[in-house]
């Protein structure tokens, strides 16, 4: 084999426990997504009344994602680090392109989130950009380690770069009218900065400011919403979250249906496949609100079990990261695991109406080709890191 190529291939065996948890979550996720979606898709003219529409497509994406995962798990992360600037440029290009020539999707003409060829292939550049941001931040912050002595404690250009890039990404994503993407982007950036060694006082300050901001907002939300520089539909979503009786057949419909679904589930659920809320009450049950149907069918016990699985996955992912000697790999894996963790938490909080409806999917569960594919590719990166630490152990 070509020596140059061989250099980039990651040897060693990956963490089987981690992969096992991923497989369990993916399987449960696809089954639940199918259970949630088959009614609405069998009634939907857009899917050609095909109950298996989302299921078959999700399976296809999963297959492609698993293939990508194994391929990526063989790539040495050093290669990603090397290409990080290139990845960054690519991501920026995609994020700009999506603003210029977005793919319009029926019913969602207002949004500029997708790129692709109509009817054949579509994806959200922000999904790619999140990984891009993680990789770039990890690279920048791992460079710091070498330069730390030279730079001293005052002023950290790496932190600053990361902060700027994060904000720039957020800016591009918010132009897509993609609030959830922006929030995740911000969260990922914050986690990367925290891991990357931003001073504790800044962390404390940020958390303090966030808590204070939320309290202020809750206290004076009427006035604050008026002056917030966000779109009207986003305002209504916040109003709909604050006022539980707001427009029950309109803006709060989905959230209410979600609560009814979760509430109907009770302790042990109605049983797999027996959701009633999926019978055209819950709009798009295959998407962001799939967890509500999970709660309805599997109950509190099932839902908590899934959350625990996610927690174990993240825990294990951090273990892998902490085992890796290489700072870039560690930061990348932690970034990825934080991304997954953030998304799970935000999704569950949205579905339970704890925070306003932003539109964040549940990893492995929500329908969506590009997000599932990227997610599995990210898992591939984690596996690659686990291979590397295995090699070192021997």
């Amino acid at each position: 084999m070509n020596e140059r190529l061989k250099k980039w291939i990651q040897t060693g065996s990956f963490d089987t426990v981690f992969l096992l948890i991923v497989c369990v979550l993916l399987t449960v996720g696809i089954v639940m997504m199918f259970s949630a979606s088959y009614v609405s898709s069998s009634y939907d003219r857009k899917t050609g009344y095909n109950p298996y529409y989302y299921f078959t497509r999700q399976i296809t994406f999963a297959a492609m994602g698993i293939a990508a995962m194994f391929i990526v798990s063989r790539i040495r992360l050093a290669l990603l680090k090397k290409w990080a600037p290139l990845i960054l440029i690519g991501c920026v290009a995609l994020l700009v392109l999506v603003l210029i020539a977005p793919l319009k999707i029926s019913d969602k003409e207002d949004f500029r989130r997708w790129l692709g060829i109509p009817g054949v292939f579509q994806f959200q550049p922000s999904e790619v950009a999140k990984l891009g941001l993680i990789i770039f931040c990890a690279r920048t912050l791992s460079m710091k380690a070498r330069q730390q002595n030279a730079l001293g404690q005052n002023g950290d250009p790496a932190i600053r770069t990361c902060l700027l890039i994060t904000l720039f990404f957020c800016f591009l994503v918010i132009l897509e009218r993609h609030l959830s993407g922006t929030i995740l982007m911000l969260g990922i950036g914050a986690v990367m900065l925290a891991l990357g060694g931003v001073k504790k006082k800044w962390i404390t300050l940020t958390i303090g400011a966030a808590v204070f901001g939320i309290l202020i907002f809750l206290a004076f939300h009427d006035k604050i919403i008026e002056i917030l520089p966000i779109k009207e539909y986003q305002k209504t979503r916040i109003v709909a979250w604050l006022d539980k009786d707001y427009d029950p057949t309109g803006d709060r419909w989905q959230t209410n249906q979600s609560l009814y679904a979760i509430g109907s589930g009770g302790l042990f659920g109605l049983g797999l496949g027996k959701s009633k809320q999926k019978f055209l009450y819950m709009p798009e049950p295959q998407n962001d609100f799939v967890f509500a149907i999970v709660c309805e069918e599997l109950g509190f016990v099932g839902a908590v079990l899934i959350l625990v699985l996610f927690a174990v996955l993240i825990w294990r992912g951090f273990d892998i990261a902490m085992r890796s000697k290489d700072r870039f790999s560690a930061l990348t894996v932690m970034g990825i695991m934080s991304h997954i963790g953030l998304q799970v938490i935000l999704n569950v909080l949205v579905v339970t109406d704890t925070i306003p409806n932003t539109g964040i999917g549940l990893p492995f569960f929500s329908y969506g080709g590009s997000s599932l594919f990227m997610l599995l590719a990210e898992v591939g990166i984690v596996l690659s890191a686990s291979r590397a630490s295995q090699v070192r152990k021997r």
Partner: protein, 755 residues
């Protein structure tokens, strides 16, 4: 490397911090949120979800049945469907409306334009298209809703759009009628919402309606479809209670058939009759033609051909609509209880009853009629201008002599007369259990003068309803008890248990049993020999009184006949009123023969023992002996012994067939045809025209031809009678030996008014 190590330791420290934040704090927040939503507020949300998902749909209750007096069901209810369109489904799918509308218009025979307008309401999810749709039509509809069209989405993919997305069905109940015209004026009908609108359906709506059921189904969010899962709570509809009428299907049929014939024959505006059980006030039959007659299964259709044809000639649309509305109102009107008529001479029965009851006239007191009488400055003519001569009260009633009842009636005085008018129930509604009963139109009692009594005494200048009349006649017949008429005998629950029973109500004793008995004899004489002789039915003792009265200021007449039978032990009473008959208009000439036809059938049906006179026994029917197989000579001798006229057809030596057959009843002295060869059996004869002939002439003519006649009508009157109708039309080909019923009536001395 120390700094590197420091940096790594720092990283691990931060990593643990972040991990704790996510796996501990974050997941804990999620679990807390779930505890709140799923466990703490779970039941509240579960309830709301149920409210959301569960749709209450009303299942129409089966309406109770209506049975006739014999328990025959007159109505039938069955489960059908109603069809609606989901207007909201057309939003964004406007192209589907045209095919949907055109298919529905075609299947249900509806106006496409109107339907299109109806279906353009995209805010309504429930646009009712058709109620009471039967299964065959639903199958047709399902064939259509199973089809689809294809349309491309934004990305050019073709999708199937099923027509079932736009059309839905729900359970409904429909009423059926085994005889859709029978007693239509009494039964009434229900509206689109299933509520009774007319007749008994309206009066007994609360009894018949039942309690609608509920089906609680889990419905899908967007379409009205059921969730394809087991989730159904059914509260069965409670079927309405049934009612059993006093009306007897057979009596009603006899009555209505006779009315139909009379309606056609007399070309009257309307004709009605009520048959009542004299002892209970139960109505055994009530019907009419010209009004109160329609198709129960399609009450909006104009049932009267005469009226329908008239309607067709109206060209102006508005005028047509009004005329059609008027015609519908008229055909739904049970004129037996809603329309008053002038009783005319029939009312003399009550004047006579009052006079006898008060002892103001004795049975043998005589009065001489000179053709007119002067009362308080007014001249009252008798219908026979030459006068009836000297007569007692019986003959005055038989002749329907006006001066007798005017002069004697005045003896009662204004108050005395009114006392009986009121006592016989002519000043109040009878209280029959039918909707829309009218009251009489009588003088203002406080302002009445002698002249009013003079005309009222022979039944003029006021109007009563037919139900009042038949109730009062029953009172005269039954020993003087005024009954409250009713048509519903019992109410039954679903299992057939009696839950309510109508007990006959005696309103009051109006006249004594003795007076009643006298009246029975007098009224029987009216039919036997007086103006009512055309109502005579051989074998039955019928009592009656004719009436002829003018519509004030016109040349239209009411011809009426009130009667009861048997005269010695009354069981049924009847009123028959013909409004504006063409040609002859006298009650005795027009109404009495129709009444006779009904009475004969009804009395036979009720198994009233016939009481024949000697003359009638002469004409009694005899059972023919079976002579098939016998030599012709023996057969002829055997039959002649029984008084039959025998005719032989064919030239064989033994009888191979006979008509009438052995065992059949044949009028005494009737004809029996013996066939001796196969070819002779197919011989037919042309029915001769017997109308206009006397009984003797008709009998002789029939025997000569080789047919038998059965005499219907008052056969005691001999040569005075003329045949006026026959059961087989002249010119029809019939086999030899057929028995033809021939109706006879008298045109002599049957008038009670100016002809």
């Amino acid at each position: 490397m120390a700094s590197l190590k420091t940096s790594r330791q720092k990283l691990l420290q931060r990593a643990k911090f972040v991990r704790t934040l996510i796996c501990g704090f974050g997941v804990a927040a999620c679990v807390a949120a779930l505890v709140n939503v799923q466990l703490v507020k779970g039941s509240e949300y579960r309830e709301k979800a149920a409210q959301n998902q569960l749709r209450d749909s009303v299942v129409a209750a089966r309406r109770g049945m209506i049975y006739d007096a014999n328990g025959e069901s007159l109505t039938e209810s069955s489960n059908v469907q109603k069809v609606y369109v989901d207007g909201r489904a057309f939003r964004g799918y406007e192209e589907a409306r045209e095919p949907v509308v055109s298919a529905l218009a075609k299947i249900f025979d509806l106006d496409e334009k109107e339907l299109m307008e109806k279906c353009s309401d995209t805010d309504s999810g429930y646009i009712l298209i058709k109620r009471r749709v039967e299964n065959a039509k639903i199958q047709e509809l399902l064939k259509f809703t199973g089809t689809y069209y294809e349309r491309a989405d934004a990305s050019g993919n073709l999708h199937r759009i099923y027509y079932s997305d736009f059309i839905g069905t729900e359970p409904d109940v429909k009423r059926y009628y085994s005889k859709p015209y029978l007693a239509s004026g009494v039964l009434g009908f229900t509206g689109d919402d299933g509520d009774g609108i007319e007749g008994l359906e309206a009066k007994y709506d609360s009894v018949l309606a039942g309690v609608p059921g509920r089906i609680i189904t889990a419905k899908t969010g967007t379409y009205a479809a059921n969730m394809p899962i087991e989730y159904k709570n059914v509260y069965d509809p409670q079927q309405g209670n049934s009612i059993v009428l006093t009306i007897d299907e057979y009596i009603q049929s006899y009555l209505e058939n006779a009315l139909q014939d009379a309606y056609v024959d007399t070309e009257c505006d309307s004709v009605l009759a009520i048959v009542m059980d004299v002892n209970t006030g139960a109505v055994l039959g009530m019907g009419s033609r010209g009004a109160g007659y329609y198709d129960l299964s399609d009450p909006y259709k104009i049932a009267d051909e005469r009226v329908a044809q008239e309607l067709e000639t109206i060209e102006d649309e508005e005028e047509y609509r009004q005329a059609r509305a008027a015609a519908r109102n008229r055909q739904w009107r049970n004129i037996c209880i809603t329309d008053a008529y002038e009783p005319g001479s029939v009312f003399k029965v009550f004047t006579a009853s009052a006079l006898l009851e008060e002892g103001l006239v004795s049975m043998d007191e005589t009065y001489t009629c000179y053709g007119s009488v002067q009362i308080a400055g007014s001249l009252y003519n008798c219908h026979r201008h030459s006068g009836h001569g000297t007569q007692d009260i019986t003959h005055a009633l038989m002749n329907s002599c006006n001066p007798f009842f005017i002069t004697r009636g005045l003896r009662l005085g204004i108050d005395g007369f009114n006392k009986y008018v009121e006592a016989f129930g002519f000043l109040e509604r009878t209280g029959i259990d039918l909707p829309g009963e009218a009251n009489s139109i009588y003088f203002s009692i406080d302002d009445m003068i002698q002249a009013n009594v003079a005309s009222a005494a022979f039944g003029q200048s006021f109007q009563v309803t037919p139900i009042q009349m038949v109730t009062a006649i029953s009172c005269v017949a039954n020993g003087g008890k005024l009954m409250q008429p009713y048509v519903v005998a019992r109410q039954l629950d679903v299992d057939g248990n009696v839950i309510a029973e109508t007990k006959p109500v005696v309103k009051r004793q109006v006249i004594s049993a003795e007076t009643s008995e006298k009246m029975r004899g007098m009224m029987e004489a009216v039919v036997r020999e007086g103006t009512g002789k055309n109502a005579y039915v051989s074998g039955y003792r019928i009592a009656g009184k004719t009436g002829t009265s003018e519509h004030l200021g016109t040349s239209k007449y009411w011809a009426s006949f009130a009667c009861f039978a048997p005269a010695n032990d009354p069981q049924i009473a009847m009123i028959l009123v013909i409004d504006n008959p063409q040609g002859a208009h006298g009650g005795g000439a027009v109404a009495a023969p129709v009444a006779a036809g009904i009475l004969e059938n009804v009395l036979q049906y009720l198994n009233v023992e016939p009481q024949y006179t000697e003359d009638e026994l002469e004409q009694m029917e005899v059972v023919a002996k079976d002579v098939i197989g016998l030599p012709v000579g023996d057969a002829m001798q055997k039959l002649r012994e029984d008084g039959f006229t025998v005719k032989v057809k064919g030239d064989g030596e033994t009888v191979i067939s006979q008509l009438p057959f052995g065992g059949q009843s044949v009028p005494k002295k009737g004809a029996i045809i013996l066939y001796t060869s196969e070819e002779s059996k197919s011989e037919m004869l042309e029915m001769p025209d017997l109308t206009g002939l006397s009984i003797n002439d008709a009998t002789n003519r029939a025997l000569a031809e080789g047919i038998n006649i059965r005499i219907a009508g008052n056969s005691l009157l001999g040569s005075e009678l003329q045949a006026y109708s026959q059961s087989v039309e002249p010119g029809e080909m019939i086999p030899f030996g057929t028995t033809v019923t021939v109706h006879f009536k008298s045109n002599f001395d049957v008038s009670d008014a100016d002809e």
